[in-house]
């Protein structure tokens, strides 16, 4: 479907100045105006941890835009290729060990091409039984404005059908590389059976999207306490990142006891926080979360289903 947000005819023309949003892809709604949600077993704070498993090609096209984290040096950029690959060889093992020690279950966002290239990693992940989300074909297949609809449709279809083949999972969730969207991304992923996507950071609970076909919801996944945003984009210290996540957990837990279920969302990127000098900060964060009273560690689909079943 199209976006009903017509362009202005001049600097003082405001064609979308009306009640609600300036488009009709989802309803305007304040979080506190919604009925409180509850999570299983009387828990109040769901914990949704996404571990992206990514393939950054050595020869990226960077079209229509370049997703952060891609190669930056003249070909062959051994520096960034191998630093990213480090996550899939070494970092992932540290991250998984830290998660398991804290009894926190991850949801993996997987570039399909990575699972084609890395059968050993694929088997390691499949053996754990955790949920796998779609994460497009690679980190060089951005879903962004400028991508032709037919090209994007084929990309979505290929990424999801192959990932389903390789994993045997239904693949209900989606995370776009770099959280970019083209105008068509929500419709295209919904048409291929995606039920929730994590690209829009405008809410802290799932909410419904209007799409051409299928049934698509937005799931929260905060960018601002993600490891890449805090450590790479903002150059905050690891200590500060851990403080920020712990502060967020404490605030959301307190609020959840008064206002109903909340979700702490966290992205742990193996090529970044799997480094030996960073992993202890991940361990501190996960131990803090695990030590809180009322926490429900769950997969994306479990949280999504629990929320959707309560939202009329």
């Amino acid at each position: 479907m199209t976006w009903t947000t017509p362009a202005a005819s001049g600097p003082l023309d405001y064609p979308n100045r009306r009640y609600g949003n300036d488009h009709d892809r989802y309803e305007w709604s304040m979080l506190t105006d919604r009925a409180p949600l509850s999570w299983p077993d009387g828990k109040t704070l769901a914990v949704f941890v996404v571990v992206p498993l990514q393939f950054f090609p050595l020869n990226p096209k960077g079209e229509p835009i370049k997703v952060p984290g891609n190669m930056t040096m003249p070909y062959p950029d051994l520096r960034h290729y191998t630093l990213r690959d480090y996550g899939n060889r070494v970092g992932i093992h540290r991250v998984l060990k830290a998660l398991d020690a804290a009894h926190i279950r991850p949801t993996f966002a997987v570039n399909t091409r990575l699972f084609e290239r890395e059968p050993l990693l694929r088997q390691l992940i499949l053996d754990r039984g955790n949920e796998i989300m779609g994460h497009s074909w690679s980190m060089d297949t951005p879903h962004a404005g400028g991508l032709a609809e037919a090209v994007e449709r084929e990309l979505v279809q290929r990424s999801l059908s192959r990932l389903r083949e390789l994993t045997g999972q239904p693949v209900r969730g989606w995370l776009s590389p770099g959280k970019f969207n083209s105008p068509n991304t929500p419709d295209l992923i919904a048409a291929e059976g995606i039920e929730y996507f994590c690209d829009w950071v405008n809410d802290e609970l799932p909410y419904k999207w209007n799409v051409a076909s299928g049934d698509l919801w937005s799931m929260p996944l905060a960018t601002e306490i993600s490891d890449t945003y805090t450590l790479v984009d903002n150059l905050h210290s690891e200590e500060s990142w851990a403080d920020q996540v712990c502060d967020a957990a404490d605030l959301l837990l307190a609020e959840s006891r008064e206002q109903g279920g909340r979700i702490l969302t966290l992205t742990l990127t193996p090529w970044l926080v799997g480094q030996p000098h960073r992993i202890k900060h991940v361990e501190r964060v996960l131990a803090h979360i695990n030590g809180l009273d009322g926490v429900w560690s769950a997969s994306g689909s479990e949280i999504f289903d629990a929320a959707r079943n309560q939202i009329s």
Binding site: L31, F180, P183, N202, L251
Partner: protein, 313 residues
Amino acid sequence: MADQDKAEGLEYYQPWPYNQRPKITWPNGARIALWVAPNIEVYELNPPANASRTPWPSPFPSVAGYSIRDYGNRVGHMRQMKVLDKYGIRGSISLSSALIDHHPEIIDLCKERDWEFFSHGIYNTRYTYGLTEDQERELIQDSIDSIKNATGSAPVGYLAPALSHSTTTVDLWAEAGGTYTCDLFHDDQPTPINVRSGKPFVSIPYSLELNDTIAYVVNKIEPRRYGQMIKDAFDRLYAEGAESGTVMCIPTHNYQVSTPHRLAAFEEALEYITGHSDVWVTTGREIADYYLQNHYETATASIASINAEGGAA
């Protein structure tokens, strides 16, 4: 206009050294006037192009920028308001006045609390750059009329949308009935401003350095350091306020300071500040009104006297 034709400086104010001013007093002997200015904004998903400034860094739909700002209104506002309520602080809202149309629920909540509404243009994706004087006047009047219709009183303060200015922005605001501007960052005390109409008009300090967007996005500061900066600024202005009254503003955004990983640091700073005596917790408008009534004449006389003595050539 070619660059060489542009004036090399601003004429809005004259030199007036911080250590050569008449003493400022605040109500009830307060040393410092504290105001918190939540920017409550609307950003368009599909704004018109502007030759001087690009609203969004990526092609339509610019998910990252648009959605976090949408978060501010959907989620962040209530969280920030709750903290301000807790410390007895009335916000002075820098309002994208299209929010009155889009999200009137937020306007109602602020009205119930007797918060101040001042103008921040129509949308924060509509810049002053490129407007003719008549167009800028129309934009300003639209924002005034919208706020007056929604709240019952016309705004008197202005912070230009997205801090985009023309050379006559402040003059136009004064002519439209405004009494103060937040667009000048030259001082820690109110200062008289020379507007072309000659009306009494003041600049009220609105700290860009403590603005959470500047701190978090431009300067990439960690949340706890931001909280410490607020406390440090307060300590110094509070100490100096024993000699002559100061103003401290904390400009915020509901998509910055209200996020779960940042709110604790902000709350701790407000707890610290409001734990002091002799703090006038107020609004921008009340500071401007008080200053205009009690200090403006003395101040203009002092400025005239200092500059007549040959301070500035």
